[in-house]
Each structure stands twice: as structure tokens, then as C-alpha cells.
């Protein structure tokens, strides 16, 4: 059970997140987006990914974090889902990190709000916590 697991990591404000590397289709820099009026606010727009239309989800809005400064462009972490790829807009991309299940702990009960739904737990790395994101929940915005 203590098998190593690879996480693709990224940053959102001061939080350090990771999603299972298997779930990530690709990581790309900022793309032009077409906004979708009337859509839920977390949907930032639609991206043309080599002919495929990908919905971009603003992860800062999803987690109730303040918006990214206007001069900073978000990056795309494209996640595979049952309904085709969805892009998560994040501040910055980190490395692919190998983590050990021994260092894993579930999210504390005191965690509230939308974050509670999305953060599964944390890997206690040296000097910082790597939060694991429930990507399936992150992309489901119908509830919003």
C-alpha cells in the first residue's frame, strides 16, 4: 500500500496542489479563451486545443481565492474526464513529484467551504504540505 504515487503539481495563491499524473493529459501555457456569457462564473471560457473544444475552469474562483493579478496569465492543466478534456487554470506549474503513501493524511475536519469538497488530503513533504485535489469534483460545476 505504501507504493509511490506520482503527482503533477501546481500553485494556486499560496497553496501547493497535486493531481494524479495519470489524470493529466497535458500542461500548456496560457491560451486565448472565448468567454461564455451566462455560464457559471467558474467557467472562464473555451479553448481551442488542436481542434478540440476544452472548457477552462478558473481554479481560483473554484476555491474562493482572490483573482489573479491582471498582469499575470494563468496556465492550463488539462485533465482527462469522462466528458472529454477540461482545463484547470492555475497560477503556476510545479514539478511531477513522487510521494509516499506513508506521508499521507486526510484533510482536517476544520477545513470548511468549497475547499473541503475539493481537497482530499495532504502529503507531508519537507517544509510544506502538498494538497491532493479531487479533480473530478473540481471540474463538476453543475452544483455551483
Amino acid at each position: 500500500m505504501s507504493a509511490a504515487r506520482q503527482l503533477c503539481t501546481f500553485f494556486l495563491a499560496d497553496l501547493y496542489f497535486g493531481v494524479d499524473v495519470q489524470k493529466v493529459q497535458e500542461v500548456i501555457r496560457y491560451q486565448e479563451m472565448t468567454r461564455v456569457p451566462l455560464a457559471p462564473p467558474v467557467v472562464r471560457g473555451l479553448i481551442n486545443l488542436r481542434g478540440q473544444i476544452v472548457t477552462a475552469i478558473d481554479m481560483r474562483r473554484r476555491l474562493d481565492l482572490p483573482a489573479l493579478p491582471a498582469d499575470q496569465l494563468p496556465m492550463n492543466v488539462v485533465i482527462r474526464t469522462d466528458d472529454g478534456p477540461v482545463s484547470l487554470l492555475v497560477d503556476e506549474i510545479g514539478d511531477v513529484v513522487e510521494v509516499d503513501a506513508d506521508h499521507y493524511e486526510r484533510a482536517p475536519e476544520t477545513l470548511r467551504g468549497p475547499t473541503r469538497d475539493l481537497i482530499q488530503g495532504a502529503y507531508k513533504l519537507n517544509g510544506r504540505l502538498l494538497l491532493t485535489l479531487n479533480s473530478d469534483r473540481a471540474v463538476s460545476v453543475a452544483a455551483n
Partner: protein
């Protein structure tokens, strides 16, 4: 095991196709019971099913098929004649087989039902008895197989005899043919060579069918070949063709003909060219070889593969658009040439791939004759079905989508439309009703019409029902036009049927049909003349994947509006913005040719800005209005810019956005940017343009439309006598002619002229209307207005042809005299409007009868 499954799968696919064919064949046979070819084709199909399932181990299926086959043997041998009861029995057998096949598909077994009663019925039918309750004939059942076997043997020996005679005939002919001077010995050799593979091919077919094919077909097949075979080289071909079957087994002539010809190709082009013209009637006359030929030139494909190809072509179209856009901004000649070629090839590829998905509408219609037969039996009505344009093709997905609506409409027509035979005869109609299905392409769309010559829609009753069901208020009812009333039928829950039958009348239906048709971007139209029949017209696009769209701009964003919703574009500038956009309590409207057009602002609809006040609006220097139509209601969508039109590839919305009714999909533009496709109906609904109040609005609008329509009448003005002016709609005029008086002849007490190969009677309007006529002295010609209907013409002789005017038509007082509808003021002169229909009837009562399709009138 896998291999066996594969075989079973193939068997199922093939059998389903065969069963559909069987349904059609049996129905055709009911009309023409002596059609031997069809009978043998039905027989072969059942035989094949029986043979295969025996081999695959489905005993029940085999038994049912066997009993059916035994019955068919007697039919084919002419010992029994196919009638309604036998057809019903055979159709029941087809259904049973279909059920079992479904079972096999789902559970890999043929099911528990042994169909004993069906078998009994079929057995009785075979013995020439009208089916009795099961018990009575149960005893006979066992003895039958022996009899049927004997029959079969006798039959085959009989056929053999006849076949031998035919072969003798053929031999004689071959001798005759070879005796004509022949130099093409090389081609003779080659035809001998070619014989080998031909014979080999022919053998399996021959084994199963040779003894069963009726003698007549072989004669027919060869006959045209012999007739044409006067040229030596062709004689060779014919010989080869005839020789081959003689060496194999008789009667496979037609099957072996095409391959024999193929081998000749290199030898003698001339002969081949003519020979292939021979093979055509040959292949038509014998379904067996047709099946073989088809098998060689067609492939079965998975629809998923076609869908994938279609998607890829869609992508290619997008890339092409991008490259075209880029090439416009460059002066690199070779890039421009290459991109133009890419453009052409992509268009052709797109067309080609679309074609692979195209299927004749026949596929959707094929089941209808069966539905109709069952229905007319249940309802006790007689209905014949006619099909026109069954080869009209449309996209597979669309075909699937209209299958059910079509069935529903046909059900409706039979149940509500066509009257019982007695009623029909009382009305002077033929006892048998006619249902006409017609399909044709028009303006990039497919039109499907379903016409019946039944009772038509009683609008008074529709109104009554709608009132009693509370669908409309009395005020609305009074204001409604005929078209409006007609469309009430399409409202949910509406039914005029006096009684609810198990066929229809429950009031769920036409609205579902309409919704389904609209779902695929189509429209539904009803035309009905009370007492004479109803025509439903469905218009649907050829394909859904790639549609033409208008690109509009809203702020920095671009949106696509599918062109089928587009009516027109209006642009207001400067002064006109202030003067022509009016407000009703802050709701902007625009007067479009006298109609109030509600305006929606796209940016407001998308909630990109708060609603404009009237004052804010006046500050705009220009307003672009896209006039759109949704559910029969028009409204104007105000956008910032109107760009060009483009062929766009419709891509579905992601799960996150599906719930937003404003969008119909997404597309990728030439520059690679993503653009949303607006759902016009969705926008209209969201904004309340289309709502519960819509019927009232629509009624008012239609009244206005009528007023509008009246303004648009184009009339031909005629002069009679000294002063009198007459008018008739220009649409009724086929031609204006000047006919020399000397060419007028007399026939049957009438003045006639020869006109376009026909005898055209002349009607002197002056005489008929009693207005008298003045003719300039010494005039040698007559002014004739030609009116044509159903390919027949009549000439109306007038004194002067004055003018063609487009004018308002306000009938001042209705005409009391024959031939005059009423009077109106046209060009400030009182003008009589001619009642052409009655005018013609008064001189020739039979002119309008008999109508050619009985429905078109």
C-alpha cells in the same frame, strides 16, 4: 466459438435485411399475386434463413421457416393463389422470425415460444383452407410434410423437363450464331477460358437455385441477349454466356453473364460495350445475379467509422478555413495555389463523406406499407400507398430522426384522415383511399410530403375543440386565420378525434412530431382542404454536422447564428435609429413593413450589460438588426457588427454549458478562435418572445401578414368592351398569346386553336360575361390569355391586355354575376376580378377533372 459468433452476427444482419425485403415483397405480392419472380425471391429468402439457422442450430426458427417455405412452394407452383389470408399468415411468420432473431441478438437463444398456433395456421393455409381454430386441423399436421416433399420433387422434375427444352432451344441458337461468319477465334478462346471461373462461381448458386428458378426467367434473361446478338462479336459473347451455364447447370445464365463479359473486355471493346447493354436487362430480370453483383461492389461498414470520418472531415474543413484565411494575407503565389487546391479537395472530400452517410429515404419508408396494411385492417379502411422520390437521399442521422414522426403521421392520416370506404363512396371518392409519400430536394433541404385524399381538417371543429379544451380564448379564436387554426393541431394535448382508438386520437402526437422535426432543424407545415385531404410537409436540412451560419459581433466576441433561423438583416443609421425604434413601456420595437418586431439586444441577452433605456439607445449611431424566426414568431436581434457567412462545423457544448439554452453548440473559426453558436429558439424563449401569449401574438401577426399579403397581389389588367376593366391574378396566367383569327377552328361546337400540340378551346370573355366586345376593324389577331391546369390549356379571349400591377386588393362588393368574384378599385378605376375557375367550368365542366394525383388540387 468466436468464429461461430461472427457467423451468427452476420446471419442476423443479413436476415434483418432480408426480412425487411420480405415485408415489402409480400405486400407487393398481395397486389400482384402472379408475380413469379417476386414469389421466387420471397421463397429464396425464407429458404436461406431456414438453411442457415438449421446449420447454426436454431430448431424452432428453422421449423417456422420451414412451414412458411412449404406454403410458399405451393404458391410458387401455382397450386395456391396468394390472398389476404395467406399474406397475413406469411407476415405473421416474418414477425415471428423477427422476434426470434431479436431474441438471438439479445440472449443468443431463439426464445421459448414455439409458435405452434402460427405453424397450424400456415399449415392450414398451405392445404388451401381458411385458418380454423387450432384443434380442428391438428391431426393433419403430421401427414403434411410428406405431401409437401412429394410436391417438391414433382415440381423439380417438372422444371427440369422444361429446362431441358430451354437448353435445346439455346443450343439451336448457339449453332445459329456460330454459323454466322466469325473471325474472332481469339475471343472464342478467351471466352472458353473465362468460362472456368464463371462456372465455378455459378455452381453454388446453381445448386441451391437451379431447380427452383422458374423457367420463364431463363427465357427472359436470354431473350434480350439473343435479340441484340446480330453482330458477330456479340454473338461470341452471347455464346460464351450461354455456353457457360450449359456446362454448369442450366438456368444460371444471367448470373454468369456479367463475368463472361468482363473477360471479353480486353478482347473486344466494341463487343463489351454492346454486351454490357445486354447485361443490363439481363441483370434486371433476375434478382439472383443482382444480389451477386451487389455483393461484389458493396462493402458493409460500421456506422461508427463513418461518423469518425465525418468528424475528421469536419476538422479538415476547419483547417481549410484557417489556411484560406491565412493565404489571403500573403502574396506567396505557391501557397495561394496550394490552399486553393486544398479548398477544392476538402470540399469534394466533404461531399464524398457526406454521401457515404446518405441513405435513400426509402429506408425510412420501407416499413410504412406494412404499418399501413395492419392499420387499414384494424380501422376497416382501404388505403393504398404511393411513393414518389423514394431514392431521395438524406443523412443517416436525420433519417433515423424522422422515422418515428413519419410513422406517426401515416398513422394519423389513416386513422383520422382517410374515411371508411362507405363514407368515401358517398362522397364520390374511390372506396380506396390514397396516401402519397413524396420526397424531393429543394434549396439545400429535403422536403417530405405526406398527402392523403381523406376528409381533411375541419377547421370549425378544430376551433371548437381548442375552445372547449381551453387552449385558446374566444377572442383569440375569432382573430385566428386558417393557418393559425391549422397549427393548433400541433399544440400538445390537442385531438379532434371523436373517439380515442388504439391507433391514435389521444392527443399526444402531432406536437411530438413537431418537436422531433424541429429538433433536427426542420419545419412542419400542414395544408388541408376540408373534405378533400391533408398534406403535411416536412422540410429538413440535408445534414446537421456542417451548417451555414451568419457571424455576428457583440463587443469583442463573435457568435454564429445558424442561417435556417435567419430571415433578413436590417441596418438603421443616424436619424433612423431615433425615429424608427419605438418603445412600448421600455420595450423596444421596430416597425418592419407594418409589423411590430420586438427587439432583443444580444449583449443584454447575454447579460453583458444592463438593459438600455430609450435615451441610451438614441445615442447609438447605428443599429444592426438580425431578423430571426423562432417557432413561427419573428423578432429582431440587435448586434454590434454583422460579419460574413461561413460554413461552420457544429461541435457539442461541454457538460458544463449544456444547460444554457442560449447556445446550440460551439465552432472553431477560421482564425482558430472558438465561437459560440446561438440557439435562436432558446434566446426567444428566454426573452419571452415565444411564450404562452404567443398564439395571440401570432394570430395578430398573421392578420397583419394577410393585410401585407393582400398588398402584394400581382394582377393582370384586361380591357373588355368600351370601358370595362377586368383583373386576374398573374399567377394564374400561363402565357399571353396573340393568335391569328385565321387559325381559329371549330370543334365540338366550340372555337379552338391548335396550341402546343394540343387543341385549346377558346373562351370569349366578352360573350361569357355579357360585356360585349369591341374589336378594331380589320384586326387579324386575338388577344389570348392562356390558362393551364393539369397539362390542359384554355384560352381566354380578351379585347385588350392593359397592364400588370402589384396592388392592394380590397374587394368592394362581392360579385353576383357568374365569372366575377367581385370588384375592386385598381389604378383608380373600378375593376372586376375574374373568377377564372368558374368561368372555365361554365364552358367545360370536365376541365378540372380528373385530377392527376387526386391530391394535388
Amino acid at each position: 466459438m468466436d468464429e461461430l459468433e461472427e457467423i451468427i452476427k452476420e446471419f442476423l444482419v443479413e436476415s434483418y435485411e432480408n426480412l425487411d425485403q420480405l415485408d415489402r415483397d409480400l405486400l407487393a405480392l398481395e397486389d400482384a399475386p402472379d408475380d413469379r419472380k417476386r414469389l421466387s425471391s420471397v421463397f429464396r429468402t425464407i429458404h436461406t434463413i431456414k438453411g442457415t439457422c438449421g446449420f447454426l442450430g436454431f430448431p424452432i426458427l428453422e421449423h417456422v421457416a420451414h412451414v412458411g417455405e412449404s406454403l410458399l412452394v405451393r404458391l410458387r407452383d401455382g397450386e395456391l393463389r396468394l390472398d389476404g389470408a395467406i399474406t397475413t399468415g406469411l407476415l405473421a411468420m416474418v414477425d415471428a422470425v423477427r422476434t426470434m432473431l431479436t431474441n438471438i441478438t439479445q440472449t443468443k437463444t431463439e426464445g421459448e415460444n414455439h409458435y405452434e398456433s402460427l405453424v397450424e395456421v400456415l399449415d392450414q393455409l398451405r392445404l388451401g383452407q381458411v385458418p380454423q381454430p387450432v384443434a380442428v386441423v391438428a391431426v393433419v399436421a403430421v401427414a403434411e410434410h410428406a405431401t409437401s416433399g412429394a410436391n417438391f420433387d414433382f415440381d423439380s422434375s417438372g422444371v427440369k423437363e422444361r429446362v431441358e427444352a430451354t437448353v435445346d432451344d439455346l443450343d439451336a441458337m448457339v449453332v445459329e450464331l456460330t454459323e454466322t461468319p466469325s473471325t474472332a477465334s481469339s475471343s472464342k478462346a478467351s471466352s472458353k477460358k473465362s468460362r472456368k471461373p464463371t462456372v465455378a462461381k455459378a455452381k453454388p448458386a446453381a445448386k441451391s437455385q437451379a431447380t427452383k428458378s422458374p423457367k420463364r426467367s431463363s427465357k427472359q434473361t436470354v431473350a434480350p441477349a439473343i435479340e441484340t446478338a446480330t453482330v458477330t462479336s456479340i454473338a461470341m459473347t452471347t455464346q460464351a454466356a450461354i455456353a457457360a451455364p450449359i456446362h454448369a447447370e442450366p438456368l444460371v445464365t444471367a448470373a454468369s453473364l456479367p463475368p463472361a463479359e468482363k473477360s471479353m473486355t480486353t478482347q473486344n471493346h466494341n463487343a463489351t460495350a454492346r454486351a454490357s447493354s445486354i447485361s443490363e436487362p439481363a441483370s434486371l430480370s433476375e434478382p439472383t445475379d443482382k444480389g451477386q453483383a451487389v455483393a461484389e461492389t458493396t462493402v458493409r461498414l460500421d456506422v461508427a467509422l463513418l461518423d469518425k470520418l465525418m468528424n475528421l472531415v469536419g476538422e479538415l474543413v476547419l483547417v481549410r478555413n484557417q489556411i484560406l484565411q491565412y493565404s489571403r494575407s500573403t502574396e506567396d503565389a505557391s501557397l495561394i495555389t496550394a490552399s486553393q487546391r486544398l479548398n477544392l479537395i476538402t470540399s469534394e472530400l466533404q461531399e464524398g463523406v457526406m454521401k457515404t452517410r446518405m441513405q435513400p429515404i426509402q429506408n425510412a419508408w420501407a416499413k410504412l406499407p406494412r404499418v399501413l396494411r395492419d392499420l387499414s385492417m384494424t380501422c376497416g379502411k382501404k388505403v393504398q400507398i404511393k411513393m414518389e422520390g423514394a431514392e431521395t437521399e438524406l443523412d443517416k442521422t436525420i433519417l433515423e430522426a424522422i422515422r418515428d414522426p413519419l410513422t406517426h403521421i401515416v398513422r394519423n392520416s389513416v386513422d383520422h384522415g382517410i374515411e371508411a370506404p362507405g363514407v368515401r363512396e358517398a362522397k364520390g371518392k374511390p372506396a380506396e383511399g390514397t396516401l402519397l409519400l413524396r420526397a424531393f430536394h429543394e434549396g439545400g433541404q429535403v422536403n417530405i410530403e405526406i398527402c392523403d385524399d381523406g376528409g381533411g381538417i375541419n377547421l370549425a371543429r378544430v376551433k371548437e375543440k381548442a375552445l372547449s379544451q381551453g387552449l385558446i380564448s374566444p377572442d383569440q379564436a375569432a382573430a385566428m386565420s386558417e393557418r393559425e387554426l391549422m397549427n393548433l393541431i400541433l399544440l400538445p394535448g390537442f385531438s379532434t378525434a371523436a373517439t380515442v382508438t388504439n391507433v391514435s386520437g389521444r392527443g399526444v402526437g402531432m406536437d411530438v412530431v413537431k418537436t422531433n422535426v424541429e429538433k433536427i432543424g426542420g419545419t412542419l407545415e400542414i395544408n388541408s382542404v376540408y373534405g378533400e385531404g391533408t398534406t403535411l410537409r416536412i422540410k429538413i436540412p440535408l445534414t446537421l454536422a456542417i451548417v451555414p451560419a451568419l457571424m455576428v459581433g457583440c463587443g469583442e466576441d463573435r457568435y454564429a447564428i445558424p442561417q435556417n433561423n435567419l430571415v433578413e438583416l436590417v441596418r438603421l443609421e443616424g436619424e433612423r435609429v431615433q425615429s424608427e425604434i419605438e418603445h412600448i413601456h421600455n420595450v423596444p420595437v421596430y416597425r418592419l413593413r407594418g409589423n411590430l418586431l420586438p427587439l432583443l439586444f444580444l449583449d443584454e441577452q447575454l447579460q453583458l450589460r444592463p438593459a438600455r433605456s430609450a435615451a441610451e439607445l438614441r445615442q447609438d449611431s447605428e443599429v444592426n438588426i438580425v431578423v430571426l424566426s423562432a417557432e413561427g414568431r419573428q423578432f429582431g436581434l440587435v448586434v454590434n457588427q454583422i460579419n460574413d457567412t461561413q460554413e461552420i462545423v457544429v461541435k457539442p457544448l461541454s457538460q458544463h454549458l449544456k444547460a444554457i439554452s442560449t447556445y446550440a453548440g460551439v465552432t472553431i473559426m477560421g482564425d482558430g478562435a472558438v465561437a459560440l453558436i446561438l440557439d435562436v429558439t432558446g434566446i426567444a424563449k428566454r426573452a419571452g418572445v415565444v411564450s404562452e401569449a404567443r398564439d395571440r401574438n401570432k394570430a395578430q401577426q398573421t392578420v397583419k401578414e394577410q393585410a401585407c399579403g393582400e398588398q402584394k397581389h400581382t394582377l393582370l389588367l384586361l380591357g373588355m368592351g368600351e370601358e370595362r376593366r377586368m383583373a386576374m391574378p398573374l399567377s394564374l396566367v400561363a402565357r399571353l398569346e396573340e393568335i391569328s383569327i385565321s387559325s381559329v377552328e371549330r370543334a365540338d361546337g366550340q372555337q379552338v386553336v391548335q396550341y402546343g400540340g394540343q387543341i385549346m378551346p377558346l373562351i370569349h370573355l366578352g360573350d361569357v360575361l355579357g360585356s360585349g366586345s369591341v374589336r378594331a376593324d380589320g384586326a387579324t389577331t386575338l388577344q389570348v390569355v392562356v390558362y393551364s391546369e393539369n397539362g390542359r390549356s384554355v384560352g381566354l379571349v380578351v379585347d385588350r391586355i392593359l397592364d400588370i400591377v402589384e396592388t392592394t386588393l380590397t374587394m368592394q362588393h362581392a360579385g353576383k354575376r357568374m365569372g366575377v368574384l367581385g370588384s375592386a378599385v385598381i389604378q383608380s378605376r373600378v375593376t372586376d376580378l375574374l373568377d377564372i375557375h368558374n368561368l372555365i367550368l361554365s364552358t367545360d365542366q370536365d376541365f378540372f377533372a380528373p385530377p392527376p394525383t387526386a391530391l394535388a388540387v
